[in-house]
């Protein structure tokens, strides 16, 4: 099983620092709700860099990659269904009985 080299680690590290800087600077701009989307998006890219390179996700065997994908998908299901419930409350009138 091959893995990342010293260079790859350094590439990931400086990439992460750059993304951290960009994310912090963008937060100073007035982008409304879109700002939050960008911040979480950049954080997700950073997480992918850590998981893919530092945690060897890109180099793992297929079974481990399926476990990672499965975990993330279950998390997204939990998140989307729960938020769907909370965010849509009050959309329709509630009639008792």
């Amino acid at each position: 099983m091959s893995g990342p080299t010293w260079k790859t680690y350094l590439f990931a590290y400086f990439g992460l620092l750059a993304l951290l800087l960009v994310n912090t600077l963008i937060a100073f701009l007035n982008l409304g709700g879109f700002g939050t989307v960008i911040e979480i998006g950049l954080a997700t890219i950073m997480a992918c860099l850590v998981a893919g390179i530092l945690m060897h996700g890109f180099y793992q065997m297929r079974l481990v990659q399926i476990i990672i994908a499965g975990g993330v998908i279950w998390f997204l299901i939990m998140m989307s269904l729960t938020l769907n419930d909370y965010f849509t409350r009050g959309w329709l009138p509630f009639h008792e009985g």
Binding site: G3, Y9, L16, M78
Partner: protein, 216 residues
């Protein structure tokens, strides 16, 4: 037990690759349960922030962006030294491995030091939730909820950091008695997975607690 030759391939595995793959798979499964635990907290935070956007922006404005950013860079650096430690172990460079693991611990302690300094500042400014919280204004109750999430989530993250430091201390002691070699270094990579995962959690904690307060 400490002989690398006997640890290299346990009797119930057919190949070294299978043994390593099994350890990696087990750790990733554990990390996915961690994802669910932290994920639940992130979902709860999102619901409250959606319902109280102004209060959460107000709470986030109380964060020290400088300390938060420095801490983020520090934690990313610790991930780099941990990654280098894993490479050193694979190359059988035990002395370098020991040094890098020690550096990782020191960086981790620096992170915790800054974190607890922040906690103390919040306590002094009466932002710690509970009987210590003393803020006025129309959003005060929801601002307190922001700090409830902040202390619980970053606190849980800090607990994980402390556990990680003890795990790395264990690696250092095993390395000192010569447990690791280029043929056997699975514990180093497995602890490395844990350490990097804690890093990922912080990346999102930084984004949701420190950045919203900067929006103009």
């Amino acid at each position: 037990m400490s002989d690398p030759v006997t640890l290299e391939l346990r009797e119930h595995f057919a190949t070294v690759e299978q043994q390593r793959g099994t350890a990696d798979t087990g750790m990733w499964l554990f990390l996915m349960t961690e994802l669910m635990m932290f994920g639940g907290l992130f979902v709860a935070y999102t619901v409250y922030r959606f319902n109280h956007p102004q209060a959460f922006a107000e709470g986030s404005a109380s964060m020290d962006i400088m300390l938060g950013s420095i801490n983020s860079a520090i934690l990313l650096t610790s991930s780099l030294t941990m990654g280098f430690a894993e490479l050193s172990a694979k190359l059988g460079r035990q002395r370098l491995l020991g040094i890098l693991l020690l550096v990782t611990i020191l960086i981790g302690l620096a992170f915790l030091g800054i974190k607890f300094t922040e906690y103390y500042e919040h306590y002094q400014q009466h932002e710690a939730p509970g009987v210590w919280f003393n803020r006025t204004g129309p959003h005060a109750p929801a601002v307190q909820m922001f700090f409830v999430f902040y202390f619980i989530m970053t606190g849980l993250h800090a607990v994980h950091m402390i556990i990680g430091i003890f795990l790395i201390l264990g690696l250092i002691s095993r390395n000192m008695i010569g447990s690791f070699s280029s043929a056997y270094n699975t514990p180093v990579s497995v602890v490395g997975l844990y350490w990097h995962f804690v890093d990922i959690v912080w990346i999102f904690l930084y984004a949701i607690f420190y950045l919203p307060g900067l929006h103009k």
